[in-house]
């Protein structure tokens, strides 16, 4: 076949092709499917990742009081709700004109890094390790967490306990393991008591040690399968991530950094409170998920990748010693080949998990956690933007609040949405590498899912829009000829297009 990867988005003559669907995509958060269109010789002509669920938080947060947002919007997700809890809180900090107290910032940081720890552990050990340890086309009956528990009981136990520890950090700081209330506009509603600190301190050395081991496993997988791991679903892309003022990896706060696919800086330390000047969202008719792009490059070529791989690769250093050492090793490995590999996500994710353990340890030793100055309120503002680096990538929350405290507008750009086009590119590349021209098997189709899982997508979070989105419906006959069409405009009214 001669199609370029880009062409695989839309086949020229879909009516002549055979459709194969992977539905649902398994071992990811949320509901999605992949469709492939193949000709009679099993050549691939179209590959799309569809997000088939529909949420609507941007709409139904409208009309609610602003202080409800951090608690309500986190219900987008059950895996990393803390990300939304904190991003919304940061936006509301702006609304209430707050400069966070040291205690508030550190309690929130610990909550967030607890979240990173548990989410990354969940993804590596529970969701991805079956593919990575048994093989992409291994026996499907064993390719799951139960199979891992039987074959690698110690590893499975570590995965469970790492996640449990992260959840406990969240419980201590947010009040509950899932969907807590600890972060409020302008601060937090509780500190960390001496008893809670000691409870978390007693296991942190073990957690750090297991996280180091996990980095070792990720590296070992690369070493043992160098060609596969280097080339699987590999594609060139721009990147976006947040960095601290000194260029360090910072998952809680910083400025935006974008690089082009050659590693050149497009913008750096960009004030995220004006993100819309550099990032915009495109809409495609076949997906509920939007397609963000860098404004300066446009929708066709301006898409980019976010998440652990971009963050670890494109920060200047990691401000904790073990993770920084692990990063150096990662960057130097095989001439830096892992930094651009889709499966490099797993290695980078484990480096971040180790970093999270180190940050939690540092924070637990900080007496500010026991402070009682929890909330600061300043001059009221109308607009609030909160950005963090969530486990899956850059997360943007943007609200407008009227003078009566009512939310009038909400825009969320979640990590998985940033990665929408990148995930589609990855699966198209995999389709070309492994599926094109071959007789389809379950194992081959799982290769597509392996590429999606590398991004650790959260499809629930990514499909939150609701309202008067522009929409066009076409009625086609069996030959693909258009019979009728109906369009809805931005104002919500329907019309028959010319």
């Amino acid at each position: 076949m001669t199609d370029t990867i880009h062409d695989l988005e839309t086949a020229a003559h879909p009516e002549t092709l055979r459709r194969v669907a992977i539905e649902p995509v398994s071992r990811v958060e949320g509901h999605g499917k992949v469709t492939l269109l193949l000709d009679e010789n099993d050549h691939v002509h179209q590959v799309r990742l569809h997000i088939v669920e529909f949420r609507g938080f941007e709409k139904f947060i409208q009309g609610r009081p602003y202080w409800e947002a951090p608690v309500m919007v986190q219900r987008l997700c059950g895996i990393c709700p803390v990300s939304h809890h904190i991003a919304a809180s940061k936006a509301m900090d702006m609304i209430v004109g707050s400069t966070l107290t040291p205690t508030a910032e550190k309690v929130r940081r610990m909550m967030h890094y607890g979240q990173i720890l548990q989410s990354h552990a969940l993804h590596f050990f529970h969701l991805s390790s079956p593919d990575l340890l048994f093989g992409f086309d291994s026996d499907v009956a064993k390719r799951n967490i139960v199979g891992i528990a039987a074959a690698y009981p110690e590893l499975a136990k570590q995965g469970v306990l790492l996640r449990k520890y992260g959840q406990e950090v969240i419980r201590v700081t947010a009040g509950k393991r899932v969907h807590g209330t600890g972060s409020v506009p302008g601060g937090v509603n509780k500190n960390v008591s001496i008893e809670e600190r000691d409870y978390l301190l007693k296991d942190i050395a073990q957690i750090t040690a297991w996280s180091r081991d996990a980095v070792g496993i990720a590296r070992q997988l690369f070493e043992q399968n160098l060609d596969l791991y280097n080339n699987f679903g590999r594609f060139e892309t721009h990147t976006l991530n947040m960095v601290r003022a000194d260029g360090a990896l910072d998952l809680y706060h910083g400025g935006l950094r974008a690089r082009d696919m050659n590693g050149e800086i497009l913008f750096d330390h960009y004030d995220y409170r004006h993100y819309w000047d550099v990032i915009f969202e495109d809409v495609k008719p076949w997906s509920y998920m939007k397609f963000p792009f860098l404004r300066s490059l446009g929708p066709d070529t301006g898409w980019y990748r976010v998440g652990p791989l971009s963050r670890v690769t494109h920060c200047d250093f990691i401000p904790t010693p073990l993770a920084n050492q692990a990063r150096k090793s990662f960057m130097a490995f095989n001439g830096g080949s892992a930094t651009g590999a889709t499966l490099g996500f797993h290695w980078a994710r484990m480096i971040e998990m180790l970093h999270a353990a180190e940050v939690i340890h540092e924070l637990l030793l900080d007496p500010d956690l026991q402070g009682n100055d929890l909330v600061h309120i300043g001059e009221r503002q109308e607009r609030g933007v909160g950005v963090i680096e969530a486990p899956r990538g850059t997360l943007i929350h943007h609200y407008k609040v009227d003078e009566n405290d009512q939310i009038t507008r909400c825009n969320l750009i979640v990590s998985t949405t940033h990665n929408n086009q990148a995930m589609n590119e990855a699966i198209r590349q995999v389709a070309r590498q492994y599926i094109d021209g071959k007789k389809l098997t379950e194992g081959l189709l799982n290769h597509i899912e392996v590429a999606i899982r590398a991004f650790d997508p959260c499809l629930s979070c990514a499909t939150h829009a609701l309202g008067k989105m522009p929409l066009e419906v076409e009625l086609l006959d069996v030959s693909g000829k258009q019979v009728d069409t109906l369009a809805r405009g931005l104002d919500g009214t329907f019309c028959i297009p010319d």
Binding site: P65, W67, E68, G175, N189
Partner: protein
């Protein structure tokens, strides 16, 4: 003549003028209730406190205590009916506990837990009930109103302002604001009003407080409503005429 009655086989003392509910709570016996408030004259509207008195169903908050009554309360038949009443209240309004700031301090939610209400049981009605944001310090979220009438009484009888009232009948009955515009900003409602303190659910809220009380320190985090109600109940006869 005895000064006790029997409640679920136990002897309950009472003072002249007390209701069955008042005497039971004062003696440390819990009868589930929702619209009853020890500081206000009972009006028997929610029916959660229904008991069987000598075989007849009565609202225990309005039923005068009398010697030798035989009262049944904690029996499956009545608890099933109470559970159904709570389910109907959840289905009738828009009660989204996960993001409600009253969660953990809400009487309806606490009753739901205590009566083991695991599902709504009925199709949600999703009524349209716009919020009133107009007052600078007070938010009204009518989605959660259960028509307990406590704010109506508190505003009229304690605050002397008559800010709240009911309008409509049957399923259309709803809480309204007694001002020309129908908005709270055009009343003299103040944060210090008794009406601010009595709402058992999350309708009348002080603005910008939100989730300031952490999980674990909210009213019903430490003990269920069946225990908390006994702590709150007056020990001796608080009689309302």
């Amino acid at each position: 003549m005895s000064d006790t009655f029997q409640l679920d086989g136990k002897s309950v003392p009472f003072e002249a003028g007390q209701t069955v509910m008042q005497a039971a709570l004062a003696a440390g016996h819990y009868i589930p209730h929702l619209c009853y408030h020890p500081e206000f004259k009972p009006h028997g509207s929610c029916k959660l406190c229904t008991v069987k008195v000598n075989g007849r169903t009565m609202a225990s908050c309005t039923m005068p205590a009398e010697a030798n009554l035989s009262v049944e309360s904690d029996i499956d038949e009545l608890n099933d009916l109470r559970r159904t009443l709570v389910q109907m209240l959840f289905a009738e309004g828009n009660h989204f506990c996960p993001s409600c700031e009253k969660s953990g301090n809400c009487v309806l939610q606490a009753l739901g837990y205590d009566l083991e209400v695991h599902t709504a049981g009925f199709r949600h009605m999703f009524p349209e009930r716009p919020l009133d944001f107009t007052h600078p310090d007070i938010l009204l979220d009518f989605n959660r109103c259960i028509l307990c009438e406590l704010c109506v009484h508190a505003s009229a009888e304690v605050d002397g302002k008559h800010i709240f009232a009911f309008s409509g009948r049957g399923i259309d009955k709803h809480l309204i604001i007694n001002s020309t515009s129908g908005q709270l900003k055009d009343t003299d409602m103040a944060l210090t009003d008794k009406a601010m303190q009595v709402c058992p659910v999350g309708v009348i809220l002080k603005k910008r407080v939100g989730f300031s009380v952490p999980i674990g320190q909210r009213r019903y985090d430490k003990s269920p409503i069946s225990a908390q109600a006994l702590v709150d109940a007056p020990r001796t006869g608080a009689v309302h005429e």
